[in-house]
Amino acid sequence: MSKLPDGRYVDDAPYDPEISIQTLERADMDASNMVLVWRKFRKHKLALVSGLFLLIAYFLIPFAGFIAPYTPNERHSDHLYAPPQSVNWFHEGKFIGPFVYPITSEADLETFQWVFTADETRPMPLEFFCEGGTYNLAGFIKTNRHLFCAPEGATVFLWGSDRLGRDVFSRVSYGAQLSLTVGLIGITVSFTLGITFGSIAGYFGGRIDWVINRVIEILRSLPELPLWLALSAAVPSNWGPVAVFFIISVILGILDWPGLARAVRAKFLSLREEEYVRAAEMMGASSGRVIRKHLLPNFMSHLIASASLSIPAMILGETALSFLGLGLRAPAVSWGVMLNDAQNLASIEIYPWTAIPMLPIIIVVLAFNFLGDGLRDSLDPYTS
């Protein structure tokens, strides 16, 4: 790069007559849709970070038991409502790796609270890859190895313990299993129903379209939560936690599909008139094939974006239901079930750490929102 006397810049590299001017642009034009979308998506830093975070979070779900130092329903009867313990590295200016100070509890007979005192003279290093309570890794491998646990005679409550002396950190990581997957199952149900009804209405039109459209309008005009409440109240109380979990996710999905069906229907109405659809029909393709092979792929990407925007609504829905005691029930552990304990003012005032599960909820919901926004903006790579 050199500067000419009149202030312009000129490239010093020798001119290569062989170079094709078009190569650079060709590469872009040949790029597949996925590459273009990825290029655009990469520029949304917030969406990228959120996507990565969610990917890691979902990847870690099978290993919740490994990360948690305790099992979710393990009780420590002499450590009720223990405050969060810090993991320290230096003891009296000397480095001895991650360790905790053992805590002992004492009943204060004036306030009727447990008072915890840390013994700051005895640093006890954490153990790694140690043996603890038995759990199932990824659901089927029985093991008792934990990433870290407290040494003999000490406890490690990173985020404190709750009213029964259960470790909040362990419960949050176990709770992620249910709280995060509830959205996935719900969205599957909602997708199946939404795409089926939306495409039938949009493709066939006529009377069936009218009926489906009215159903959509009615369902959309009703407040979701009272209906969720009513439906979950109908779940028999003698069902096991797993069955309740599935039925709750299905309930969340059942009321979510009308919005999706509406979008699908609108797309179908406009795409139905396209020439390639006409051509496929004339070649004798069945309506099912036209819908699946020719129409749906056209806006699958939009559907994915809208899915990532409705998953958080379901996560919040599960939390709300469990919080009210109509969703998942103990011994199942989800973030909503945990917050059920933090329902009264006393816990917020005296034991604020019991409300910690609200942090992962807020973070996950935000991440899904950012990811959805980023996807929506980048899915149409040809608009500037």
Binding site: S221, P223, E224
Partner: protein
Amino acid sequence: MVILRYALYRFGTMLLTLLVVSALVFMIINLPPGDYLSNQISELRATGQSAGVAKAEFLRTEYALDRPVYQQYLIWIGFIPGPHGFSGLIQGNFGWSFEFDSPVAEIVGDTLWLTVLVNVSAVLFVYLIALPLGVLAAAKSRTWVDYTTAFVGYIGLATPNFLLALIMFYYGHKYFDIPIGGLMDPVFEGEPMSWDKVKSILVHLIVPTFVIGTSGAAGMMQRLRANLLDELGKPYVETAIAKGMRPSRMLVKYPLRMAFNPFVADIGNLLPAMISGSVLVSVVLGLQTIGPTLLTALKTQDLFLSGFVLMFVALLTLIGTMISDVLLVILDPRIQFEGRET
């Protein structure tokens, strides 16, 4: 006149929708196996209280619970005569609450008006907050004003309503001395309306309104900003600025009016979400609205009480949506009168 006709048409469709909703509601509340009375009867049998059993059996025939479900539904609505002739919802008889052992109308009573009050004030709050902030965020897009409002908006969207309620509950009381819990001072409960009572209700409304409205306001703000940004890029805006119009005047005079329609139409999406929110928040804050009643009724399978509450909630939503539809037609004459889509 045309508008009147449209309003009538909308009212008609609302009634039809309500009818479908009532069937849906009745189906849902009948889903749980067993009902309140048979649960109670078996409980009384187990403890050997025969007097109670007789009363429960009496109630069962009294409220036609021994008939097939479709007949129960028709009697509940008031289309066919029950044991006492026509006395269903459309005749103004809301039924009997088994759990509280008194008529439904007596239990819900005042809470209906307080529910309407809470929701209306929350809707007003949403519009009052979302309008200025959304316009500001669009006008100053990509500055710190925009980013701050976006950040606050996202937090508002992501925080579950009931958590916000709990947090406000605590900090509002601790630092601002806002009275919390309930919708009025306990001394005014059951008292006739007076100026002091109104004042007390207004002060108690602050926290619930804020909590219920936040997420709605956040969503609406984002949509208003997006709409306004679309309009701001159009040639007529450039023309107006080139002519030498003051930016603030230009903004209010042209693009804002264009971006306003979706703002009004949005109430159809807003209202269901708000009413959902108000049910939840009422439970947490202990407001005397319909929310806590619904929860108890659902948990105890109190058939008529939960049915009535669900119907009322649906009615509230449908009326709100209808008003917004009619308002939209008055605001924008281009909108077709025969429904919103073809």
